[in-house]
């Protein structure tokens, strides 16, 4: 059992390292996704009157909607590169544990999402006049939400990549699946930032449950999914 876990962990680190090296060399996230996030932040500023306080109150929702948009781009990119040069076949034939590949893909997506969230947080402070409070609740709920988005993305990414209509299928499939994450993380952020009353930890707990569910689902179905896509 320990040997299997070590093998899965090693495979996950190898796959995550491969994806992050690929990203570091191509700089697609750096040159395209992060500027896209910045553009969305500025557009929200124009769309919602910044002087009325609406923008500041809407920040938790805007934060996670923007992260979701960026996640779709990152997931599409992460699995599109494997459609070329037989990378998907190579992974299938590599002898790596399917759960290890899934965890590696989810891990690399999570790292990239953290970069997006840090940029969004900086923008929220600078452009939306948000004061960060409740840092522990913010960090725990953001971590759980990031794991949930990355895990769901790593399940739906290869699924959509195998379809002839992959560009339009991924958003249609992924956005409703991530609705509980969006609702819970927005609520936890509202409470942490003092825009809503109530306990924020149950929302962080729910995010943890959703993250655990999607990670379990990915570990369970990645094998058959990899065979068929």
């Amino acid at each position: 059992m320990n040997a299997v876990l070590r093998s899965v962990g090693g495979d996950a680190i190898a796959v995550a390292g491969k994806d992050l090296r690929l990203e570091a060399r191509s700089r697609v996230a750096m040159n395209q996704v992060l500027p896209f996030v910045l553009a969305v932040v500025l557009l929200f500023g124009f769309a919602l009157d910044p002087d009325s306080g609406v923008l500041r109150r809407a920040t938790p929702g805007l934060f996670w909607v923007t992260v979701l948009f960026a996640a779709i781009l990152l997931i599409q990119r992460s699995f599109a590169v494997e459609q070329h040069n037989g990378v998907a076949d190579a992974l299938r034939l590599s002898g790596m544990h399917p759960a290890g590949i899934f965890l590696g893909k989810a891990g690399s997506l999570a790292v990239q999402l953290v970069a997006v969230e840090l940029l969004m947080a900086g923008c929220a402070v600078v452009f939306y006049d948000v004061r960060l409070r409740g840092p522990l609740l913010l960090m725990v709920s953001a971590a759980a939400a990031t794991i949930a988005i990355a895990a769901a993305g790593a399940v739906y990414g290869p699924l959509a990549a195998g379809l002839a209509v992959r560009e339009t299928a991924l958003p249609l499939l992924l956005v409703p699946v991530l609705a509980p994450v969006l609702l819970s993380s927005t609520r936890a952020f509202q409470i942490a930032l003092g825009d809503a009353v109530g306990g924020g930890w149950p929302w962080a707990g729910m995010l943890g449950i959703v993250a655990a569910l999607y990670v379990t689902l990915g570990v369970a179905v990645w094998g058959p999914l990899m065979e068929e896509t």
Binding site: G162, L172, L173, P176, A179, P180, T229
Partner: protein, 252 residues
């Protein structure tokens, strides 16, 4: 008619028809129970003291949303079954259940919107239950979209099984949303507490609506499954014919 001809005729009917003696009886029972439900809904039950005439919408709304959950769970169970055993039966049953779930959820959303117009003064409010239900609807539209993309049966079955299982994870969120968020949607009418909030003919009509819509769902499910099964057999025959044609061409 000779035995051989009778057997060929029987085989022809089996492969081109979705009906059987059992489904014809079930169809008649469905029509009769729907007629009884209509009679109770509009003729026998009286308006509610609080909800007024709008309570009649509940006799469609509550059973359709409940059966939607049942169909979605059936879809997810068949998905797990398919991934474990690669059973074509499970894949096609999941397809039939998913399609009917979208139909019943559509009925439920429309009837809920009508009830909302009367009770809240708007067809749609940004309420947690309504929003999560709309997202659930979109999840299963996505499921049907994945199924409709041309692919090898095994690849299509695997992908749609994963989407169906993941979609079912949202059901508890929708179901508990009225408790978790301060929702405008009324609390559960049945099973919310030990005592149901309605009684008499209203309670009977509501319970009977489950039976009538249950028959309808079962009848539609069987027929939809058989249509999918026959479509697969037609595809198999076309494939066999195409292979035979290529062999003939190769031998010439």
């Amino acid at each position: 008619m000779t035995d051989l001809a009778a057997s060929a005729d029987q085989q022809q009917r089996e492969t081109t028809s979705t009906s059987s003696r059992g489904t014809r009886i079930l169809g008649v029972v469905t029509v009769v129970s729907m007629a009884i439900l209509l009679m109770f809904t509009f003729g026998i039950t009286s308006p509610d003291a609080q909800l007024g005439e709008s309570i009649r919408i509940m006799y469609v709304h509550v059973p359709t949303i409940s059966l939607t959950y049942v169909l979605m769970i059936l879809n997810a169970v068949c998905g797990v079954w398919y991934l474990a055993k690669r059973s074509e039966f499970a894949d096609l049953l999941a397809h039939a259940a998913g399609e009917l779930a979208v139909l019943f959820l559509g009925f439920s959303i429309v009837s809920g919107a009508l009830w909302g117009r009367i009770t809240w003064g708007a067809y749609w409010v940004w309420d947690a239950r309504l929003t999560t239900t709309a997202l659930l609807f979109l999840l299963y539209v996505g499921y049907l979209a994945v199924r409709s993309v041309p692919a090898e049966p095994q690849a299509r079955g695997t992908r749609s099984a994963v989407v169906g299982i993941a979609a079912a994870l949202l059901i508890p969120v929708v179901h508990k949303s009225v408790d978790w968020w301060s929702s405008l949607h009324q609390q559960r009418t049945l099973f919310g507490t030990l005592d149901p909030k309605i009684g008499g003919t209203q309670l009977f009509t509501l319970m009977f609506s489950f039976v009538a819509f249950g028959f309808l769902a079962a009848w539609l499910l069987i027929h939809r499954f058989r249509v999918a099964w026959l479509a697969e057999r037609v595809a198999d025959r076309e494939l066999d014919a195409a292979i035979a044609q290529r062999r003939e061409e190769a031998q010439r």
